[in-house]
Symmetry: C2
Subunit: 354 residues, 2 copies
Amino acid sequence: MNKPRYTGSDALRDVCIALFRAGGVDQKQSCEVANNLIWSELVGRENFGLLRLPIYLERVAMGGLKCPCDPQFSNRSDTISILDADAGFGQYAANLATERAVSLARTSGVGMVGVRNSNFFGTGAYFINKIANAGMVGLVLSNSFPKVTAHGGLSPIFGTNPLAFGAPRRNGEHLLFDMATSALAGSTVRECIENDTPLPDGFAIDQNGAPTTDATKVADGALLPVAGAKGYGLSLFVEILAGVLTGAGVADGVSSMYSDVSAPGQNGHFMVAIDVSRFMTPDEFYTKFEALIVSIKGSHPSNDILLPGEIRWRNYHRNLETGIPLGDTTRKVVEILCRQHDVPVPWAKTRQVA
Amino acid sequence: MNKPRYTGSDALRDVCIALFRAGGVDQKQSCEVANNLIWSELVGRENFGLLRLPIYLERVAMGGLKCPCDPQFSNRSDTISILDADAGFGQYAANLATERAVSLARTSGVGMVGVRNSNFFGTGAYFINKIANAGMVGLVLSNSFPKVTAHGGLSPIFGTNPLAFGAPRRNGEHLLFDMATSALAGSTVRECIENDTPLPDGFAIDQNGAPTTDATKVADGALLPVAGAKGYGLSLFVEILAGVLTGAGVADGVSSMYSDVSAPGQNGHFMVAIDVSRFMTPDEFYTKFEALIVSIKGSHPSNDILLPGEIRWRNYHRNLETGIPLGDTTRKVVEILCRQHDVPVPWAKTRQVA
């Protein structure tokens, strides 16, 4: 894991924006998607970062990601709004939806925004962090293309359907919880394929329904829901709110970003913001929440039980200070795109520190 | 499992009410808690049914359940209300909160009600069913006394913190999903103790943190969160919304209904109702949802993958028709209470059918 670190997240962000511009992405989407990708790199979620640039640019070129797009809100009450994402970047639409949810919650205590006609949105934690920055508790859900079975089922019905939750902390290092409702995340399967390592036991089946640890067999087989019936119920929780209720694609109505680059994913998202200050003063909330955190930390002699998101914050501060570590693949990917699009390779501008 | 079945859920309900009255429970709470217990019996959740009558009556006598109680709502917006349950029955308070959440959602699209100063509320599915009967999607959470560790922790921090979710179906047999965020439900541990059977492997630790399958060691040890870090995050999701945000007890601020019968549990609940009709017509929703259900059913050659709650509905219809099956312990418990409180034993009035 001794990856070279590159300082200058701003420089990397500028490269993303330059590549997006060269690839035909409009200015609005470029800036927000670049923010999202760089944040993902900073917190150590490489899988949601620069690595995805090639597929995004390919989808832009082929029409799967619409640029420019013209997302439209339809307000349904002082609390509820629905956003038609117009087939643009999921990161862009979900960010608009997050801002709207926060604004509704500021007025009404709760904001709930459903997004339809969208695409893959990256990591839910990014939006949760924005909601928490506003002093609010957040819940962010997204459906995705089918690769997970119902409990007892053979063929995949659900996406890995992530569920993200968070709550604000006084120190700004908010609780950021982000789980796949499947036994394994899609990114874990991809990593196992790339590294030629086996999947953990009991988490996937091949096309005949037999248990498999061969990551390459998941494409024709399926992942299992996490913890059987529980993960199945949680997948439904996500699919009903993010898919059925928003009017987005449901089950095989959602497509993979890799399988047809010319078709929008039809993903649906669901963002909830709850204004803490309607329940108690922020100070009371922080005090109660920190007391719970002290109990959690102290529940082991090491006094260092981690909160969800805590590793992300450690990465964030270290990477901001000492540079973003970029793997060989990521660097190669960026270099190739830069040459293709006549954009200066960033390593020329940034300082390699390790 | 050849338990005698007793027809007449109304007769059993009357017995509950008579016992409650004799034990000093006020009329309002008696009726609602009896409804709750009988529904739990009808759907086959015996652990949340008549079996609990002795501890409830003991807690009423000793002050842990306040009768009468005077719950007070404090409205915080058109969407949010907080209910101080005044230390009454959790089933009663949670029902009031559910009705308020539905009423707020009717007006604003979303209703969110936090409950503090409450007690154990039974099964979340009961309230989810009420929300779904109103044509709404529901989320119901409750915290409970600590017996589950944080991921990696040694001493218990969280309750089994149930998470219940549901959505309405056109045929009235709503999706009812109700999970403990711990690896095992508390009721499973009690069943293993009563039947002298081992716990499944890897779900509990003894007081030294060593894995155990001995159910009697859980009281001094702990249960683990379901699926490790994921269950830990879900426990936090429940604890933050139902405990921290409502102003209820948090972590060891919540007490077991069995450990101190004179002290209120200080449980917190969190009920959310979302009016489907703000997103689309109910008919559109039902059509989309049923299409998803058809996909799920068809994802196995048997075409019979079950939805969460489907077994409950099968039980409900069978038990309503052929009688509620009552185990030996339940019958003995009811007989003893009836004699103590000079209430006629129900089997005299009901027909034993098997």
